[in-house]
Symmetry: D2
Subunit: 329 residues, 4 copies
Amino acid sequence: MKQPIKNIAVLTSGGDAPGMNAAIRAVVRACAYYNVKCTGIYRGYQGMIENDMVEMGPRTVKNIVNRGGTILKSARSTDFRTPEGRKQAYENLLANEVDALVVIGGDGSFKGGLALTKEFNFPIIGIPGTIDNDIAGTSHTIGFDSALNTVVDAIDKIRDTANSHNRLFFVEVMGRDAGHIALNAGIGAGAEEILIPEENIGFEKLIDSLERSRNSGKSSSIVVVTEGDSIGKTVFELGEQVKNTMPNYDVRVSVLGHLQRGGSPSCFDRVLASRFGVKAVESLLAGEHSMMVGLLNDKVVLSPIEKAVKSAGNGVDEELIRISDIVSI
Amino acid sequence: MKQPIKNIAVLTSGGDAPGMNAAIRAVVRACAYYNVKCTGIYRGYQGMIENDMVEMGPRTVKNIVNRGGTILKSARSTDFRTPEGRKQAYENLLANEVDALVVIGGDGSFKGGLALTKEFNFPIIGIPGTIDNDIAGTSHTIGFDSALNTVVDAIDKIRDTANSHNRLFFVEVMGRDAGHIALNAGIGAGAEEILIPEENIGFEKLIDSLERSRNSGKSSSIVVVTEGDSIGKTVFELGEQVKNTMPNYDVRVSVLGHLQRGGSPSCFDRVLASRFGVKAVESLLAGEHSMMVGLLNDKVVLSPIEKAVKSAGNGVDEELIRISDIVSI
Amino acid sequence: MKQPIKNIAVLTSGGDAPGMNAAIRAVVRACAYYNVKCTGIYRGYQGMIENDMVEMGPRTVKNIVNRGGTILKSARSTDFRTPEGRKQAYENLLANEVDALVVIGGDGSFKGGLALTKEFNFPIIGIPGTIDNDIAGTSHTIGFDSALNTVVDAIDKIRDTANSHNRLFFVEVMGRDAGHIALNAGIGAGAEEILIPEENIGFEKLIDSLERSRNSGKSSSIVVVTEGDSIGKTVFELGEQVKNTMPNYDVRVSVLGHLQRGGSPSCFDRVLASRFGVKAVESLLAGEHSMMVGLLNDKVVLSPIEKAVKSAGNGVDEELIRISDIVSI
Amino acid sequence: MKQPIKNIAVLTSGGDAPGMNAAIRAVVRACAYYNVKCTGIYRGYQGMIENDMVEMGPRTVKNIVNRGGTILKSARSTDFRTPEGRKQAYENLLANEVDALVVIGGDGSFKGGLALTKEFNFPIIGIPGTIDNDIAGTSHTIGFDSALNTVVDAIDKIRDTANSHNRLFFVEVMGRDAGHIALNAGIGAGAEEILIPEENIGFEKLIDSLERSRNSGKSSSIVVVTEGDSIGKTVFELGEQVKNTMPNYDVRVSVLGHLQRGGSPSCFDRVLASRFGVKAVESLLAGEHSMMVGLLNDKVVLSPIEKAVKSAGNGVDEELIRISDIVSI
């Protein structure tokens, strides 16, 4: 691949996550620190195809470390799935004299980057950015910690009203196929029961658990449910069925929705994003490619990006399921 | 009615609202200040029937001024709708030597209190507590200001992701039949369009407005919708129909739900609740009854509670509709 | 004065306050709505002298309604206090074809605007923006409500640690010569005692009050103090003296400082700023000048700006002092 | 030591930290889960000496997972430093049939626990709870993550006003002798320079750095300073000296103070505290003692409590100093 690298591009792709701006800022400033040019690409791969790029200097990214969303915007690109689209994208990179690319996003975004490497020998490094924390090769993705704080803050508010009325609330949180948000935020918010895709406890066990809760003197209860289906039902079906099974319960359902993706990032995510952004630039300058930056055992490390793309996430921590059972007694 | 008043009871009823605890605290401490006993009734009129009461002193209410929900809890009572239920309730008040009652809640809660006055000549004073701000006789109900902050904070987060993806979001907020929350939070959150029950703009005007927004260069849009039906549809139907009408829009729907009722009250609501609680006690001690405490022209005043019960809320400020049109240009 | 008005300038001056950006946005968008040009002036009167101006359209102010600070920045200008400076400023306004000016700031900022009117017959309208709420002619200045929420949030945090250690905290808040912030935030945060410039209770009464608090069973106490001197001492001297007088107290001092000026504005301030901005533009277009927009009895009204400049603020509400005494029992 | 363990006591000691309540809750509920009694001791070792203890069941700790401070309160105890005090404390433990103790606090608190083990063969386990993160044997102490979020939130607010006025702010944060808070919050808040006790950069290098910042086009700057002295001066002396050296700077100083210790804990701290609390109980039941629970490489592990007591904290991550230099360019 081309060496030396004199111009690094950066884009965000897929669902946005708090901290993406802090990662963009770190990439841009690390480029400035190492005296290489930095090119921002708007709207992910779609912007690459449409040649929607801009040169970025250290002052371009001032006052964004604390902003949610992504100043480079994100988009899904169907054009990029075609060979013609990718060819056009590659030619635009050349036309802008871009030598390497940092992709901030999830596994789908990394796949797009890998295609550029395979087809055009173009070097990329991935930075895991998604609130779902479902990427192999890192214990934490950018945005996960912020989303957890947003979710517990929302459930704290719901609990105020749940307590005031002795109610049972089903609260649906994000996570795609991964229970990380539900499990961590469920423990953090003091949920009585947590339903995650990784562990189908079944409807009967749920009812048992809720009855035990009530009998133990709890006057209100929160059940955190991962989006999609947890025990084979939508959260509304689940609420309805519990209402029918336990008619003296005052059951409510709340779907937290997209507010989980936004907001000012937590300090943890800002620092993580800063470390990841610097590492991505330094890795490219050191000749690395096709790798993902990640946090393992509190250290920033590289791992093959293929692993993140092919593996089914990083699994929930079984210990947390056990902890959840104990502290919700 | 009985004079002098030596024991004042307080209850919360109906939907809970941030600041109710601050109001309870003010009632309890005003009683202590004027050397009368104070009796807390749990779970509203249902607790009155079940004799679920406790004596409250100034230290009972410490550290609650900043708590959402209500430490006295709230409940709907079907028993209280029967003459037998009300008779039992009244007898429990007598048995606890309670001489007067402060009711914190909405119009439904006030109706219950008035029944006690009419049937048993028992003095009550109402304090308007509901996030919906739909009570005649006060410019602000307790909880309204806090709910507005919660809603704009949520929409700020949604806007992060809307901006990152150039999306159109329909965000449903609470308000029952009143557009106060939608109108104020919509202006506060910079919504492009606000749908309120008081003004059915119709589907065509909505589409016109959205197209004008897009043509004016806006890359993302937020439409705030009051719960229930605004232009004759649920928010999900509305989103679907807009998607069909404007297929190149990326439309999403978010229902904020019960988190709007919770959370630590704003300073405004804490101060308002403190003023209302003191005024309620002082009014009862001065021989007043069947009145509601309210804020009019920035002054705490009394008005007949019948007015709050019979009138259809206090109407939205037409000026705000106009302001909303101008600042969303 | 010149008619018709085709170009309205806007500036922010003096201490910044949350909601100033929402006011700028409303001015800019109202100009667009009424088809007049809008010119932003950077760094207040200093930028006017240095001709630091830019044309602003409705998209220039997108996504700022929720931002603290002021995108037009603020500065103190010594040059503007000289006749030469003001002449230069006026000539720059003419050179930019500006016909009228909206000044967002406090009484000092209004004085500067009035000078332009007196010396050059140039029309201005003022919008009161300061966290201190010390402007005659309006019940609320932009930023006051946001600062109150910031202060109660900070004191809520301090109370956590005060309660855990049974401590007495003196917390200094902003307000210049006015006790509005201290009084409202003190009630909102459940302070045991509130020291404001308008009412010097004296050291003995403070000690009496603290001893009564302790004797009544309170394990921790918060005293809110307005910056400057409240009872003739700095907050540090006060803390020291109380420590010497009541040696078994664990006394701490916290000065909240500049964080009170920042942060995302409350919904109240965003709506207020939107109303004020629209009204300012509409008033200028209607031929008004030398007036200040204000909120009186919940209505947006005009009053002579001279009044705001000459009067010593708007006085604290005596009722609140009384309420504070009662609810802190 | 005594086996089997049938009654575990828990106390909090030293400075309070967000998440201590979540840890108490986890200890209490883990005891309930394993069918052993749980005894809460108020006000740390002082309460142990004064026999201020209470039996705690799972419902005793409801709705505290999200509360700052500690419901068991904390206190310094001079009595416990005497052999008589410790003997009295031990006898009270026996009188309450307590078999083992969980100490939540910092190194000073652990020392007290170790004294009980050494003198009376009484088993204890420590849980590291302090915002300073200065305990060897764990990568994160309870409260550290929450404090970081509180600090970046405060600095975000200060930056609003710094930007509006092109100012240079010195912001002092907590940390005792450790720069963890300053370093992480400084990176998170986008500080231009971070002064920590572990690295005395000297006054000249600070001035160089600030001049480089200004020359690179930054209009405002934040310098984060650890409490105590960083380069041999208080933060006020430092501000004064910079003002004298760079007279055209508008320099301000803000000391964040005790608000850093309070507030609702972050999700991270709630989960961490839950894991630590369960592990502490399980370790005691498994016969462990004189150990501290900690997080190393994302796993909850035990390490000898002596290590935490004797070692000088866990050192700042050198990588972060480097990252800070790069992203603040």
